[in-house]
């Protein structure tokens, strides 16, 4: 069986395959990495590093994008 890690994304618990990158995580969630910004454990993950940073067990992610606002 594939090994998984337990993380939080935008406040919700999730299990994802171990060893994937943050860019993989975005794709797994159906998101285009180029259209979002990612915060990992309160630190920004630069877009240039999304493919290099590996998702670790216990990570807490905020993934945001632009929406309509005044």
């Amino acid at each position: 069986m594939q090994e998984t890690v337990s993380i939080r994304v935008n406040g919700s618990h999730r299990r994802v395959p171990a060893g994937i990158s943050v860019a993989d995580l975005a794709l797994e969630l159906g998101l285009e990495p180029a259209k979002v910004a990612v915060e990992r454990n309160l630190e920004i993950v630069p877009r240039s590093a999304l493919a290099e940073v590996i998702v670790e067990d216990g990570d807490d992610y905020e993934i945001v994008t632009f929406v309509g606002g005044g």
């Binding site: 919700s12 159906g30 910004a37 945001v64 632009f66 309509g68 606002g69 005044g70």
Partner: protein, 256 residues
């Protein structure tokens, strides 16, 4: 000569900045932005919808390559939240020009100036160029400018109230004292309010609800464009003096 204005090293022709909230659809929003002639739109930063990631995005309708996105911190009540939001916004958009607003309470949505000033200082240190929503206090405006705000954006009335410019005297005092652009942010309800703001010498006006909640937002967007332009022209033209009594427009000489 073109009547342009500059903020943080960028030049714009339109003096109207519009929000992208409260519209019925992205299509209506995009049509209103086009009708307004705005070159800058404010946007919010929010969690992506993970349960339904296929939903259309604002960027599919309003192209950030042709319209400057000004990410805001609406909904933030502390400097810390606002800074965190804008760090994410910078990563999502890749630019430093942002709109800072740190709110004091939900009822009036008045800014918390202590937190606003604190956030401005931190953001400037981190290389951001914050346009800052603030109270109509000329001293606070000066302090924000000294802290590195690239534009001062006092409210004309509470956010979303549509009450019009309630504070002409203090807005004018801010305009006279400022070395950076001053834009009325919040309070405009209809076209004449936008003209009033511009006649006071403001560099621009920012509005959302006045257009989005009009019965026909696209027509109102055009009305606002014209109102901002005519208010600006009236300011440049220099209005006549006011008198207490009548002064006839036709000559008195040669009366039969």
């Amino acid at each position: 000569m073109a009547d342009t204005w500059n903020v943080a090293g960028k030049t714009f022709s339109s003096r109207l900045i519009v929000g992208t909230g409260k519209y019925k659809s992205f299509e209506q929003n995009a049509a209103a932005v086009a009708a307004s002639g705005a070159e800058i739109v404010t946007v919010a930063v929010r969690r992506v919808n993970i349960s339904d990631p296929g939903q259309p995005l604002l960027t599919d309708y309003i192209d950030p390559k042709t319209i400057t996105y000004l990410p805001n911190t609406a909904g933030c009540f502390t400097a810390e939240e606002a800074i965190r939001t804008l760090r994410l916004a910078r990563e999502a958009g890749g630019w430093e020009l942002v709109k800072l607003e740190v709110l004091g309470e939900a009822r009036t949505l008045y800014p918390d100036m202590r937190e606003t000033l604190k956030a401005t200082e931190t953001l400037v240190k981190e290389g951001f160029k914050p346009m800052v929503y603030c109270v109509d206090d000329p001293i606070a405006a000066k302090q924000l400018e000294e802290a590195g705000a690239v534009a001062i954006m006092p409210l004309g009335a509470p956010i979303g109230s549509g009450l019009g410019i309630q504070n002409r005297v203090t807005i004018r005092l801010i305009v006279e004292g400022a070395g950076v652009p001053v834009l009325v942010d919040a309070g405009v309800g209809t076209a004449s309010d936008a003209s009033v703001a511009m006649e006071l010498g403001c560099d621009g006006v920012l509005m959302n609800t006045a257009i989005a909640e009009a019965k026909d937002p696209v027509v109102m967007a055009r009305a606002m464009k014209l109102a901002v332009e005519s208010g600006r022209l009236a300011y440049l033209a220099g209005r006549m003096g006011q008198r207490r009594y009548a002064d006839p427009s036709s000559p008195l000489a040669g009366l039969i």
